[in-house]
Symmetry: C2
Subunit: 236 residues, 2 copies
């Protein structure tokens, strides 16, 4: 049985539903999404494998998920560093950054330099709303993640990948294959091109929404906020 | 070493700090608090012991934590029923109730009748801002929780207890001893009168805030959002 996926257009509509009839605020959804990301990172790269985590955050919601994840990672005992070059003026993102500064989590402008001392990278640059061309400074960062041996966990999508079609044919990201991916809410069509460890997270989908968007509600275990699945969508 | 506790007055000041200089929204804090509550319930009463959970919600923040917990409990596979007789007009609480209705979680006005069919009760009626007298319909509900053999997990405080001095000398709650308590952010002084299983939750305290309020940051394990502790505040 093939894994049911959610197109970029449907993912945007689903988010709108969650925040209108669903009654969720973006604060709440981002908190739960970022928490799921942090739990996936903990599974892929527990602190015993090295505490230094570089979290690369883009300008939108994917970056916000990264900011939340970085905070939870700090609480788990990691030493996260955040690369967040295009900071949003949005009040929520500013508060998420404040929460990190209050934990003395460093923000860096030097992705390459920090990468040399990191044990794991979180790619929270672009999510399901990405399309088109990658601009600087992210093109350089994606190239660096593409070339490094340091394992990467991507949030919702490997950055630069087309949500529907996977890796770009040319340019930054064309050979970017992160070690792990966490799909938030539901996997996007790009997962058929993805070969690493695959998690789903975002434990807030109602049966009604799953039915409307023709999705599976993952069979999470206990209180877990993430579930690792195989290429057929089966629990691992 | 005695457990360091947080007075009602300090707990209110700490919450204000979290939502001003801390950069947190109430949505975020309540989501994390309610998630902690749901994880404590899962430890005390896993679904294998019976899926029916009656969540009693008061009119304020303690009730809001209960609403969030009920949603997570639903996602863990429980069948929660919510008793929420004094519903707040506050937009956040209304959205939390909507989130439950979208999961078809039933709301009941009949605490006693529902209690007969429940396996576990969550007492989210009053928290650290409680003082004075218990009014109806909560007086009757607290008396019912006091008399029943069904185990209760209390959120932040057994309802009716004085935050500083513990059980009231007379009236509803004077012999109310819940099976479990989850202290959010930090234990309140009442814990010295509490004999059941004790958890701490709310994994969002910064070292700076812990230092300002003379608190211990609990030594949570892994990605856990709760920690069970003994009377000396040591990890169990």
């Amino acid at each position: 049985m093939a894994l049911r996926t959610l197109s970029a257009k449907s993912a945007a509509a689903l988010d709108k539903d969650l925040m209108s009839v669903g009654g969720f605020s973006l604060d709440q959804l981002m908190e739960l999404a970022g928490l799921s990301v942090s739990q996936a990172v903990y599974r892929v790269h527990p602190p015993s494998k090295g505490e230094n985590i570089l979290v690369a955050c883009g300008p939108g919601n994917n970056g916000g998920d990264g900011l939340v994840a970085a905070r939870h990672l700090w609480h788990y005992g990691y030493k996260p560093t955040v690369f967040y070059p295009k900071q949003s003026n949005n009040e929520l993102y500013q508060r998420l950054a404040t929460q990190l500064r209050n934990l003395e989590v460093p923000f860096t402008d030097d992705f390459d330099g920090t990468m040399k001392e990191t044990n794991h990278i979180v790619d929270a640059i672009f999510g399901f709303s990405f399309s088109g061309e990658v601009r600087e400074p992210f093109a350089t960062v994606i190239s660096a993640m593409e070339k490094t041996e340091i394992p990467v966990t991507a949030v919702d999508a490997p950055s630069s990948w087309s949500i529907e079609d996977g890796p770009p044919k040319l340019g930054p990201g064309s050979t970017f294959h992160p070690a792990a991916l966490i799909s938030l809410t539901a996997p996007k069509p790009l997962v058929k091109h993805f070969k690493g460890r695959h998690f789903v997270g975002g434990r807030f989908i109602t049966p009604e929404i799953a039915s409307k968007y023709n999705l599976d509600v993952p069979s999470y275990t206990g209180v877990d906020q993430v579930l690792e699945i195989d290429a057929d969508g089966q629990k691992l």
